[in-house]
C-alpha cells in the first residue's frame, strides 16, 4: 500500500477510535486495550523487526507499572513525571537485561530473557514496596501538566489515546528509518550485517532498550488507568500473552500487534460470555464451562497460529490483498 493510502488508513482508524466513547463503547476497556496494544507494538519492534524473541518482556511492563505507581502514590509526583519514571525504569531494566542476553543468540537469548525476568519477578514478590500479593493499590490519577484533571474517564481516554498515537508514530518512524533498516538486516542475516561493518550488538541492544522503554510506558499508563499494579504484570504468563498477541496479529507488521492485542484482551475478558453464547446456540453443555478453560483456549490458539496461521491476521490479509491485486493486474 502506498504512503498516502497508508496515511489515510491510519487517520480513519484514529478517527474511529477517538469516536468510540460517543458510540457507547466502554472507555476503560478501550484504554486497557490501548495499553496492551502499545505493549504489543513495543514487543513487535524486537521480534518482528529485529528478530529477537524476548520471553521476559513482562519484566518491563511490571517493573515500570510498579515504579510509576510508587512514584505517583508514595512520592506524589505529578502524572507526567510518574509516566517518565515508568519509561526510565523500563529502559534501565532493558539495558541491564539486554546487555546480558545479547551475549547469546537465538534460543539462548530467549531463555536468558525468561530467566532474568523470573529473577525480577521473585524480587517483586518479596519487596515491600510492591505490596506483594496484594499489589500496589490506590494509585491516584492526578492531573496532567498541572491542569488536565484525569479523574474523569473521558479526559483520561483522550490522553491515553494521545500517548498511544505518539508512541506508535515513534515506532513507525524508527522502523522506516535507516536504523530500522539495519534492524531488519540483522533479522534477515546477521553475519552479513556484521560483515557490512555494522556493530550488530549495539544495534540489538538499542532496539532492546527502546522496546523495553515503550513497554515501560505501556505499564505506567496502565497503572494510571486502573489505579493499581500487581504481580501479574511481571509474571511470565504475561510475557507469553504478548508473544501471542503479536503472533496472532502478524509479526513484523505495523497494525498486527494492535489487532492481536484487541483479539487476545477481548478473549481474556469475554471467553466466559462467548462460551455461554456458544452453549446456547449449539446446545452443547460443555461450552458453558468455557470460561474456566481460558488457558486451554489460549494454548490452542497458539498451536493453531504457529502451525497454520503464521503470518497472523494482518499478514494473511496483506498476502491475500497482494494476491487479489495481482490477480486483477493479470486479468487487466
Amino acid at each position: 500500500m502506498n504512503l498516502p493510502r497508508q496515511a489515510l488508513l491510519y487517520v480513519v482508524l484514529l478517527a474511529v477510535v477517538a469516536a468510540l466513547p460517543a458510540l457507547g463503547v466502554y472507555p476503560v476497556f478501550v484504554m486497557k486495550l490501548l495499553c496492551y496494544a502499545l505493549f504489543a507494538c513495543a514487543f513487535n519492534l524486537l521480534i518482528g523487526f529485529t528478530g529477537l524473541l524476548s520471553f521476559g518482556h513482562a519484566a518491563f511492563l511490571g517493573g515500570a507499572a510498579y515504579a510509576a505507581g510508587h512514584a505517583l502514590k508514595v512520592w506524589g509526583l505529578p502524572t507526567e513525571l510518574g509516566l517518565l519514571t515508568g519509561i526510565a525504569t523500563g529502559a534501565l531494566l532493558g539495558l541491564v537485561m539486554g546487555a546480558l542476553a545479547i551475549r547469546r543468540s537465538g534460543i539462548y537469548f530467549s531463555m536468558i530473557t525468561l530467566a532474568l525476568a523470573q529473577m525480577l519477578f521473585f524480587f517483586f514478590l518479596q519487596a515491600k514496596f510492591t505490596g506483594g500479593e496484594d499489589g500496589l493499590q490506590s494509585v491516584p490519577r492526578g492531573t496532567l501538566l498541572g491542569f488536565i484533571d484525569l479523574r474523569d474517564d473521558l479526559t483520561l481516554y483522550y490522553v491515553v489515546l494521545g500517548i498511544f498515537v505518539l508512541s506508535f508514530l515513534l515506532i513507525y518512524r524508527t522502523v522506516h528509518s535507516p536504523f530500522g533498516q539495519v534492524l531488519k538486516a540483522i533479522r534477515e542475516n546477521e553475519p552479513r550485517a556484521t560483515s557490512l561493518g555494522y556493530d550488530t550488538a549495539r544495534f540489538k541492544l538499542l532496539a532492546f532498550v527502546l522496546s523495553a522503554a515503550l513497554a515501560g510506558l505501556a505499564g505506567a499508563t496502565k497503572t494510571l488507568i486502573l489505579g493499581f499494579a500487581t504481580l501479574t504484570d511481571a509474571h511470565w504468563s504475561t510475557s507469553g500473552l504478548v508473544i501471542l498477541m503479536v503472533l496472532v496479529g502478524g509479526m513484523g507488521t505495523m497494525l498486527g500487534p494492535i489487532i492481536g492485542a484487541i483479539i487476545i484482551v477481548s478473549l481474556e475478558n469475554k471467553v466466559g460470555d462467548i462460551g455461554m453464547f456458544l452453549g446456547r446456540v449449539t446446545g452443547i453443555e460443555w461450552f458453558n464451562g468455557l470460561g474456566e478453560a481460558v488457558t486451554v483456549v489460549i494454548g490452542l490458539i497458539f498451536v493453531v497460529c504457529v502451525m497454520a496461521f503464521r503470518r497472523g491476521v494482518v499478514g494473511e490479509f496483506a498476502a491475500w490483498w497482494t494476491r487479489w491485486r495481482g490477480g486483477r493486474a493479470a486479468a487487466a
Binding site: 499489589g135 489505579g227 500487581t230 474456566e292 481460558v294
Partner: protein, 402 residues
C-alpha cells in the same frame, strides 16, 4: 351479611396492601443482579471457583420466592487471579449490566482492586474468598463487607488456641512474600501474647518445590509446633515433606491457611493430627450437614468455608433487600450492619462498622484415618473461638469508619 362484606372488604384491603408492598419494592432496573468474580481455573479454583457459583445459585433459588415477579440474575466471571480483569469486569457489570452487589472470590489483590471500584461506584461488595485483613483496615470503605475469614482470625485462632491446647513453642516455615510474612508476624504476636514462645523461623521462597532443607532446620529447632505460614501448593508440599522426614513424629503441624480441599488432596494419613482454623465445616450441626449434603449432591464434593460463605452472604444480602424493600446501596449496607446473621453459616454473626463480619471460628484437628467414618469426615472441633476473640485486631482496627 354485613360481617361477610366487612370481612371481604378487609380481605381486599389486606390483599391490596400486600400487593402494593410487593410493588413497593423499588429495585433498580426492576431486578437484582448479583456479580460474582473469582478464580475459576487456577490455583484457588477448588476452594471457591465453580463450586462457589453453585452455592450462589442455591442461595438465589432459595430466596427467589421472596421476590415474586422480580428477576434475580447471576453474572460471574473468572478473573484468572488478575486484578486487571477483576476490576474491569466489575466496572463493566456495574455500568452496563446493572449489578447491584458484587461477591468477591479468592485472591487478595483482586479483592482490594474490586473494593475500590465498588466504593467508587457505590455498590455493596462482599468479599468472601480473599484473606487480606486490609479490606477492613487500611483499605476499608463504606461499601465493603469482609464476610468469612481473614488473616487476623486465622492467626488468632490457630495461634492462641494451639497454645492453649499445650503447643507452647513454635517454629515457623514461612513463604517468603508479603502474605507469608504477615501470617507469620500476626501469629507470632498472638502466640507470645498467649504465653507461648517462638523458637525460630525460616523463610522459604514461594513455590519452592523442595522443602526438605527447611524442614530439617525446623526439626533441629526442637519446637513443639511447626507453623506453616504459607498457602496452597506450598502448604501441601511442605506437609508431604514433613511426613517423609519424620518431622510429624516430633512436632505437630499447624496450617495457618488451609481448606478442607487441601486435606482431601493430601489424605488423612499425611495430615492426621494437624491443627488449622476454619470458619465453617459441613459436619458441625444439622443445618450445616443439610446444606453440605445439598451441595454434595450437585458438586460431588463437600463445600469449603468459602462456598458456604458465598451462599450465606448472598442470602443475607437478599434478605436485607427484602426487608427494606429496595436495593438502594446505602440503605442495604445500613441494614446489613445492624442485623444479626443467623443461618447455617453463622449464629449470632454481626457486621461491624468497618465491614468486618464477625462470627465464631473453630480450631480443628484433623482426624486419623481410623477415626474417619466416611469420605470428607476429616475434622474434629478442638475449640470454638468466639467471634469477638477471633477477629480482634491488636491495637484496634485501622479503619476510620464509624
Amino acid at each position: 351479611m354485613k360481617l361477610n362484606k366487612i370481612a371481604a372488604a378487609l380481605a381486599a384491603c389486606g390483599l391490596a396492601m400486600g400487593v402494593s408492598t410487593a410493588q413497593a419494592q423499588k429495585l433498580s432496573g426492576d431486578k437484582i443482579v448479583v456479580g460474582f468474580i473469582t478464580d475459576m481455573s487456577s490455583l484457588y479454583s477448588d476452594i471457591d471457583g465453580p463450586g462457589g457459583v453453585e452455592a450462589i445459585r442455591m442461595a438465589i433459588a432459595d430466596m427467589e420466592k421472596q421476590f415474586p415477579g422480580k428477576k434475580i440474575e447471576l453474572v460471574f466471571a473468572d478473573h484468572q487471579n488478575k486484578a486487571d480483569i477483576a476490576s474491569s469486569k466489575v466496572r463493566e457489570w456495574i455500568d452496563q449490566a446493572g449489578a447491584d452487589v458484587i461477591i468477591g472470590g479468592t485472591n487478595s489483590s483482586t479483592a482490594l482492586a474490586t473494593a475500590k471500584v465498588a466504593a467508587e461506584k457505590k455498590r455493596p461488595y462482599i468479599a468472601i474468598g480473599a484473606a487480606t485483613s486490609r479490606l477492613t483496615n487500611e483499605d476499608c470503605t463504606p461499601y465493603t463487607v469482609h464476610y468469612a475469614y481473614d488473616t487476623v482470625a486465622l492467626a488468632n485462632g490457630t495461634g492462641s488456641a494451639v497454645v492453649k491446647s499445650g503447643g507452647k513453642s513454635w517454629f515457623f516455615l514461612t513463604a517468603d512474600y508479603a502474605f507469608g510474612h504477615s501470617l507469620e508476624s500476626d501469629t507470632s504476636s498472638v502466640v507470645k501474647a498467649a504465653g507461648g514462645t517462638v523458637v525460630g523461623a525460616v523463610r522459604a521462597p514461594l513455590n519452592a518445590s523442595d522443602f526438605s532443607s527447611f524442614l530439617l532446620q525446623a526439626q533441629n529447632s526442637k519446637a513443639q509446633i511447626l507453623g506453616l505460614a504459607n498457602a496452597g501448593g506450598d502448604t501441601i508440599n511442605s506437609i508431604k515433606a514433613a511426613n517423609e522426614f519424620g518431622v510429624t513424629k516430633t512436632m505437630k503441624l499447624a496450617g495457618l491457611l488451609m481448606f478442607i480441599n487441601d486435606i482431601h488432596a493430601l489424605g488423612l494419613k499425611t495430615t492426621e493430627g494437624m491443627y488449622l482454623t476454619d470458619g465453617w465445616y459441613w459436619d458441625l450441626n444439622n443445618d450445616t450437614r443439610a446444606w453440605g449434603k445439598r451441595f454434595f449432591d450437585k458438586m460431588k464434593r463437600m463445600p469449603s468455608m468459602l462456598q458456604a460463605g458465598n451462599y450465606s452472604a448472598v442470602s443475607t444480602y437478599l434478605s436485607a433487600v427484602k426487608a427494606i424493600g429496595s436495593d438502594d446501596p446505602d440503605a442495604v449496607m445500613a441494614h446489613m450492619k445492624k442485623t444479626p446473621i443467623n443461618d447455617m453459616f453463622a449464629k449470632g454473626g454481626k457486621i461491624l462498622p468497618n465491614g468486618r463480619m464477625v462470627h465464631d471460628m473453630y480450631l480443628m484437628q484433623v482426624k486419623s484415618p481410623a477415626e474417619s467414618k466416611s469420605p470428607w469426615d476429616y475434622y474434629k472441633v478442638a475449640q470454638t473461638i468466639p467471634g469477638d476473640v477471633a477477629f480482634a485486631v491488636p491495637g484496634g482496627t485501622k479503619c476510620t469508619l464509624k
